[in-house]
Amino acid sequence: MLPFTIGISQILVAAMGVVVGIIFGAIPGMTATMAVAVFLPLTYAYDLETALYLLLGLYVGGISGGLIPAILINIPGTPSSITTTFDGYPMAKRGAGERALKVGIVSSFVGGIISLIALALFTPLLSAAALKFSSVEKFLIILFALTVIAALSKGQMLRGIFAGFFGVLISLMGMFSVNNAYRMVPDFMRSKMQDGFQLLPVLIGLFAISQIFEEAEEGMRFKVEKMDNGTSSTEKFSFADFKGQGVNLIRSSLIGTFMGVLPGVGGSAASILAYAQAKNFSKHPELLGTGAAEGLVASEASNNGLTGGALIPLLSLGIPGDSTTAVLISAFMLQGIQVGPLFITQNPNTWNTILVALLLCNIIMFVCMFYPIKWISKIIYIPRQRLYPVIIMICIVGAYATKNGRIFDVWALLIFGIVGYIFGKIKIPASCFLIGFILGKDLENYFIQSISASGGSLMVFFSRPIGWFIWLLIVASVAYALWDNAKDKKKKAAEAAQ
């Protein structure tokens, strides 16, 4: 008898989960977390093992599907696909959409498999490591992730840093949980903005709606620079695209996995951090952001690396690694099973089933995305005047669904669409604003936790060896960005002089 559960029904359920997850991930405003939450009631009718096949399929598919709109229409399907747009969309615009999608899918697959290996072999070790990361280290990691703003704002550093801080400020709107006081919220908006602006309406407003405004202003001109249908040998996908990317692929997958292991740090931080490191270690950092496969590899490997990583604290400590695994807890609870420190030893069959299910879901994800993607990539050639009305409608539905049906989130979508449009006009990088917005709440949360535990002493941030190491990375990352920016300015000045 096999030490895990698998059968035709489980394989079919996993395939359904992956396909539906990909669709959720590909729709702006819908996420893997929503997919798992929506399908949770369906699992009442299943045993735990079958339910896990379905939910893990939704999780893997949901995380992976986000790359499709990120690459083809510059709209991240999920928050963790933000960095995918940086290089994916420029590639699609120059007629290499299919190639970009395939690079992303292969990277996602590798990221998922590396995180699965980490889950299978190193769970006790990694959960012990996670316990060594207190609020101090988490604050420093978030700070480290924020340094990507400096790297992304090359040539306009002041604007980028302003946008980043502005994003942090806006993320702090709403009720402060420590004393229930409202911050930056007028009295009449309190019931709507208890939790401030939600990430998804902000994200799709800034990326999708503002882009539609911009293109409407320009008359919706068809913008693909080269319609070679992927037949040009230079823009056709081949596994040679990964030549020289081995280290990037493994490093980014491991960053994603480790960010998943740290509860409360989040998937977006993983892809941001991996992208920043890809840029820092690249031989041609100037190419990242212009359509380099390197950036795409970093982003996609890390956000799928998160899947196995986030299950580690869930299954070994009983605390979820990200928002999706937080919903997965319900599936276990409904079946009367407690996930926590004794879960693996007390439920060996379920544990093995999780590993097999995760492997199967990654393989199904690869097959379901890699081969049909040739047809999906044609979306880029659909005239904008036909595509955008549908995108607007889907974005509105996505925003409306963010908090289970609030019209305020649709208004937020529109507001941030206008904000993004204005940002474009005054040349403020929306990506920097968004990174500040995503990381702002966690930054404050871990800062307060650290300070309250230390009795108000700021020295707590310099008191632990792991913290010193992260400080070193922060300083090195900022110094490198400053040096790179100065070098770029010098080069531009020299070119102008000539």
Binding site: S191, K192, L334, G336
Partner: protein
Amino acid sequence: MKLKKIVSLLLSGAMALSMAACTVGGGSNSTAPAASGSDSNAPAAAAPAGAGASSLKGQNVRVVIGSTSTSGDSYMIADLVTRYLSAEMGFNGKVDAIGNAAALDEIANAKGDGKTVMMFHDMTFLSVLFGSVSEDYALETMTVGPRIGQNPGGCFGAAAESPYAKLSEVTQYLIDNPDKTVSFNIESGATSHLCFAAYYLYVQETHGDEVAGRIKAIVGGTTAEKLQRLWDRNADVIYGDTSAFAQYTEEGVQDQLKMNMFGSCGTVNGVEIDSMADDGVTFNGAPFDFAKDFCMYFPKDMDASVLAEYEAAMKKVTEDPQFQADMAKLFYNALSADEVGVEASQKFIYDKREMCSELIERSPSLDSLT
């Protein structure tokens, strides 16, 4: 040309689907009563097919809860009750976890036709008493409906290596060690805040300001964040649910994670734990227990006949042995038919609010305890 037509057709279809999605109340999709013939032992799987007759038969009913979590007690109880009521009254009920302020706002603006219900615990009125939301959302602005269940599982927890395993031992520790403080990680404006305040007032009353003054509060965080604070030893005592803490009390758990739990809000079936009252904590001279009471709330102008239908259905549901078993599996208490009656529920909830109001008035501000 043909491709263009196909693309246009597909895009139109997508738009139509999107519009259809928007027209479903609250973005909800209906949840049919649980499937029959299930091989699962899940509590919810056993919801029976009831009479299915009411004025809401075949309609979509949106159940909002004041939490955004789908793994906490609010969702679990609301979801279970909704499925049983769906079967009993024949409607398609769906629980939406939209958060406290949003849920109160929803009820304040909904029609009193029974198609929008809030199912939530004492935070409904505690959030007004603590000032988290305005008086516009006081109980008087809505209709208190039938109570649906009770979770007595809120409790305190401390690291197993700490010198106390009961609230009375925390007090003794503070008396024996005048240079020490004990920090409690709680949430502002929530049940944990109220239980902490009751304990603080009890210590102040019985041992004076000096001992009580060394009880400190750390505010905020989910259960996961509180556990991490405990594991980091950044908090001495945390507040959570017995169902979340129980696993860390078992043999075989590593030392850093191992903990004791104590001072629950009432008797928890199947769990060996002293309640606050068992441990001697009193308020106004009476033993203090504070189980979370879950109740249905409707708009102010609620249709009396529909309310009566809900009451009758809830009375049937709460007497159903399968429902009682499902609640017990989740460590929650089902109530008697008399307790869920609207009149009894209203009296119970208003009395409880009165007691809480007095306790909050007497307790010090958290700002002075952090």
